[in-house]
């Protein structure tokens, strides 16, 4: 019977069309992103961050220019590529923002509450942290991510982050792995990296912080986690908490070796 074979051939012929339709949507989205990348508003944040870094502020009237981000006091170039990491002075694994809080308190004399009171910009109130993060991250542009997981506390951070990544909870039964545990998936039209696959992690983890057009401001990895937990029907994760930093160390293990393209540009 020729008919079934014809039917199958017809169906098979349609498959590349369906795939092509998907491809052309992806291509158009990529073309749009390329166009936008030439005018990244994150540039404005980098400039403001550099100014904030060098301005004397706070009760001690000091700048952040002596801040140790892991490569020695005042060394900004390359520091972001090696964060998070363990710090001897605080005996804690810290990410960029946590370290900025440390320096704002020890060098500039702010209290911890003052330093942490405005982590994320709203249209009515700009956050200094986003500008500072943009500046510091930009100073590692083009370098390979090289987050150390060597010190016992760094290794513990990885182990905890791994547990948290798979932790299912709340009314949606969601874990990070629910969206980020498989290749080739997307939520609505937003592609989702498989964060335990270096092929995805190396390309995506390294584009944070980024100017998010939908938010009208630069957002950092701290905000990304806060935003993820919002969608996962969890409450607000504490800014610079151990859970947030441990998750970053976990993700960094798979992202290490990727080229830093921050501050990036995203929807």
């Amino acid at each position: 019977m020729g008919l079934p074979r014809l039917l199958i051939a017809g169906l098979l012929a349609l498959l590349p069309l369906a795939a092509a339709a998907q491809d052309s949507t992806q291509k158009e989205i990529e073309r749009y992103r390329q166009m936008l990348a030439e005018g990244n508003p994150a540039d404005l944040f980098e400039a403001r961050g550099e100014e904030l870094w060098k301005t004397k502020r706070g009760p001690k009237n000091a700048s952040l220019e002596q801040c140790d981000l892991g490569l020695g006091a005042g060394v900004v170039k390359g520091a972001y590529a090696r964060l998070p990491r363990w710090f001897a002075d605080t005996d804690r694994v810290q990410d960029l923002e946590s370290r900025l809080v440390t320096c704002m308190t020890t060098l500039q004399g702010y209290t911890v509450d003052e330093a942490m009171k405005n982590p994320f910009s709203s249209p009515d109130r700009k956050s200094d942290m986003e500008a500072l993060a943009s500046y510091v991250a930009g100073q590692s542009r083009g370098m390979k991510l090289d987050v150390p997981i060597v010190h016992p506390k760094e290794r513990e951070a990885f182990a905890i982050g791994e547990q948290l990544f798979y932790r299912r909870a709340g009314p949606y039964d969601f874990a990070c792995a629910s969206c980020h545990g498989e290749n080739g998936r997307r939520i609505r039209l937003q592609e989702l990296p498989k964060l335990t696959d270096p092929k995805d992690a190396q390309k995506i983890f390294t584009t944070w912080p980024a100017y998010r057009v939908s938010q009208g401001t630069v957002r950092t990895m701290e905000h990304r986690l806060y935003d993820c937990y919002w969608q996962m029907r969890h409450p607000q994760i504490d800014y610079t908490s151990d859970a947030a930093i441990d998750l970053m160390v976990f993700m960094a293990k798979y992202a290490n070796g990727g080229e830093i393209a921050a501050p990036g540009l995203k929807r």
């Binding site: 948290l164 709340g170 009314p171 039964d173 792995a177 939520i187 919002w230 969890h234």
Partner: protein, 212 residues
Amino acid sequence: MRRARVIVFAAAVAATAAMPGCATQPPGDDAGARARAEEVFRQSFTRGNRQMAARVEQQDEVQKLCSAWRNQPPKDVAEKIEQAQMATIQYPASGKLMGDWRQGEKIAQDGYGLRFTDPDPKRANGGNCYNCHRISKQELSYGTIGPSLYQFGKLRGADEAVQKYVYGKIFNPQAFLACSNMPRFGHNGVLTEEQMAHLVALLLDPDSPVNK
């Protein structure tokens, strides 16, 4: 001689443990990391919504198991989960499993509810279905975390057995697939009976755009 028997016994136990389908150690269970992670979790959600924090701090049995097995439980664990979850499914007392597909489409599009920015208790939760699924032909902004549901009713018909399956799947997806990524919308109190019936209609009603 005793030592040899002990060695043989130990080898036999190890061999059994390595057989597929038998419950061995979950991958996520190293040296107390899970307990320490619970403590870190508890200490990291302290300054936001306390009611929501209390809810997520407590994992139920299925959430604990699926976390430990990283959503790939061995066969015997999976079967136990599916049996237990099947027992939780409650069908509407009225027996009416198909509602209005137009309402279903609205529910499928709507992501409102249960986030820390959703304060209005009078507004119904959405089903968020398009985040993960392709559903109607017209909606191009769909996700691919779950399979496409386009033509669902057309391919399977809409008799009572299919209706019961779809309603049950939405109520508790883990009754059919242990550690499924899909939320247990009925069991967890996300959607009401009426809402789930509208979603059944969205998928099965011959007039629904899903089946056109």
